[in-house]
């Protein structure tokens, strides 16, 4: 009973607890709308030191520098795409956590669908071949019937 009560008390707390971001108050832009845009862009940019975190999540000093750079560019009036391009020009597509569809990322994007289609073709072929090889539903032959009668 107490456990259930505890769980009920904990659930809303967990629900409202947002994952902690690394953005410090002194980095934030005064304009909430601009800060919101900066956060959105930062979430899509990879921290090049830790590599599997976004710069929004990372405590690495270089991630902080990049967050400040993103905010500086926004404050200058650059669009979201321009800010992203600015960082990509320096670190390459690798900094985008969601890489664009291009020649060398085609395998990455199309791979799962290719496997799905190949699997579907495989299953279709297998299903079509199955009735021909299966003899379970065929009526018994004369010899089989005789054998059955003998066993009875």
């Amino acid at each position: 009973m107490t456990r259930l009560l505890l769980a009920l008390m904990l659930a809303p707390m967990l629900a409202i607890a947002a994952p902690a971001a690394a953005v410090l108050p002194d980095e934030m832009l005064p304009d909430p709308a601009q800060e919101h845009r900066a956060r959105a862009i930062s979430k899509d940019l990879r921290c090049v030191v830790c590599q599997n975190q976004s710069i929004d999540d990372s405590d690495a000093p270089l991630a902080r520098d990049l967050r400040l750079l993103v905010r500086e560019q926004i404050a200058k009036g650059k669009s979201d795409a321009e800010v992203r391009d600015y960082v990509v020009a320096r670190y390459g597509n690798f900094v985008l956590l969601k890489p664009p569809v291009e020649g060398d990322t085609l395998l990455l994007w199309a791979g799962p669908f290719a496997v799905l289609i190949l699997g579907a073709i495989g299953i279709a072929l297998w299903q079509r071949r199955k009735p021909a090889t299966s003899s379970a539903d065929a009526p018994l032959s004369e010899a089989e019937r005789a054998e059955l009668d003998r066993l009875r």
Partner: protein, 175 residues
Amino acid sequence: MKRLLFILPIIAFVGLAGFLGYGLTQDPKALPSQLIDRPLPAFALPGIDGPVLASATFKGEPRLLNVWASWCAACPQEHPVLERIAQEGFPVYGIAWKDKPEDSRAFLARFGNPYAGLGMDQSGRTAIDLGVTGAPETFVVDKKGRVRFKQIGPISPEQWEGEIKPLMLQLRAEA
């Protein structure tokens, strides 16, 4: 047909194993530099005790640009190689990345100063323009001021002899 179906998974397995095996020989942390064959980004950094280090310096002769810091763990290990490179007559320039001038000075007093010119990048902005992901990193800049090679991590003596020195000699011979 049956036999083919039997062999197919084996072929698929060998193919996948080969592909993954090849992946093991690659360094997933190595990032291709965006600067290869492109001009060195413009910068003008205050020197530590001497003059300003500007990107305009990197013209007329192939040079090395080494990004380092006193807080960088691998830099003392690389430093003797840089000294040797400088002694062999190849100009090495340095950018101290997000380092305090007094710390950089103490580092050079302790390990020696191979740098023909040294800039202090305290904001880290030039390092971002260079696409630096960690110290040390070294750029090979050709006569025309274009980046031709980027080394991530310390240069080993073998790498200098086998890879970077031949490239420097080749760049010297270029028109």
